[in-house]
Amino acid sequence: MQTRQPLARPESLGEMFWAFTFLALQGFGGVLAVSQRMLCERKRWLSHKQDVAALALAQVLPGPNVCNLALIVGDRFFGWRGAFTALAALMAAPLVLVLAITVAYAHYSHVPMVAGAIKGIGAVSAGLIVATGLKLLPALHENTMRLPACLLFGGATFIAVALMGWPLIGVLFGIGLIACAYAWLRISAAERALTQTEQS
């Protein structure tokens, strides 16, 4: 499914600005799904593994996840100018649209077709978000914690957040801390094994 072409770099701030503008304008009900398509598949600026790592940081830090992701990716390639450009591109066009849609919706919200269209868009965006999750799964194969442990921590998180509706901050500090501690042990064990092989 995933082609193994080498990764690319954005050539200029302008290219990055337009990539994030397009990405933002396609992000109905969540930019995250589109960001993966644009950054990993179309532009090839990030591998899926790098995308998951950047997302992990973007989600754990406070603030809008996509905005944090834009800052992280922008900074990676062009320093603070890149971070600012990516964030500005992400916000500018959608901001204009949100204010414009407010006016338009006020005029046409009584039309059942408009309400239906918005419902259809909602269902599609749910599907797109799930597809994003499915595409991120292969990145877990390379994880140092191995797949069963990943499924355990992931499953527990899904149940707590989506099904039980627990506050995210508690889940992040609870399950997150245990998972990071376990990953630490795995990395330590792997490094110890490596030094022993080198010595013998």
Binding site: A106, P112, V114, G122, A181
Partner: protein
């Protein structure tokens, strides 16, 4: 999170029952009020200043994304400051969800309703400035130390949790539809987007058309 989703569900994904309510103009009133608000005159600079301070603080509490702070923004703007009505608040969240782009734009819509374009700018800067500065600083710090064991343990440990949160968001957005046809469409779209390279805009337009024709 779930509270904000319910807000969204209540405001923008009408069930068959509430369709008639919309048709009769029950939900157009707050949005009409939004457009017609005599903006700058209603609320002065001191309120804007207080709001800015609140949003600066909320910015650093928005772990898990912008929608996580919806209940608290409502508490500040509607209950304690009285800048907006509940109906105006709901309309902002719904519009930001329906429009493309980051969901955090609901804060700009709220600011606009409270104090016009100045309000939108103040609110958006307030909610973004602290978290963005922190994200920028931590990203640099983490990238410079990416081979350091705690950073590697953090990235490996958080990876499955992040993937699970993506599924969780998809589940939450799908579950608010409360309708088997919408759930089937969501499942089909998930498969198509996972396995093919069909453009997102095509999928979204398809969903909009299917919904407009009343198939969903």
């Amino acid at each position: 999170m779930s509270a904000s989703m319910m807000l969204f569900a209540a405001a923008i994904v009408p069930t068959m029952e509430s369709m008639s309510a919309i048709a009769s103009g029950a939900t157009t009133t707050p949005i009409a009020a939004l457009i017609g608000t005599p903006i700058a005159a209603a609320h002065g600079a001191p309120e804007l200043f207080v709001l800015f301070g609140h949003l600066l603080m909320l910015s650093l509490l928005a772990v898990g994304g912008a929608l996580a702070v919806v209940p608290d923004v409502r508490r500040v703007m509607v209950t304690s400051m009285g800048l907006l009505t509940d109906a105006q608040f709901n309309a902002s969240v719904a519009i930001a969800q329906a429009a493309p782009g980051p969901n955090v734009l609901f804060v700009a819509a709220l600011g606009y309703q409270a104090a016009g374009f100045a309000g939108a700018a103040v609110a958006l800067f307030g909610i973004l400035l602290p978290s963005s500065t922190l994200a920028y600083a931590v990203a640099r710090w983490g990238h410079a130390r990416r081979n350091w064991r705690p950073v590697r343990a953090f990235q490996a440990g958080m990876a499955p949790i992040v993937v699970a949160l993506v599924f969780g968001t998809g589940w939450t957005v799908a579950a608010q539809a409360l309708d088997w046809r919408a759930l089937v469409l969501a499942a089909v779209i998930a498969l198509v987007a996972w396995r093919t390279k069909v453009h997102v805009v095509v999928l979204i337009s398809g969903g909009a058309v299917a919904g407009a024709l009343g198939w969903i």
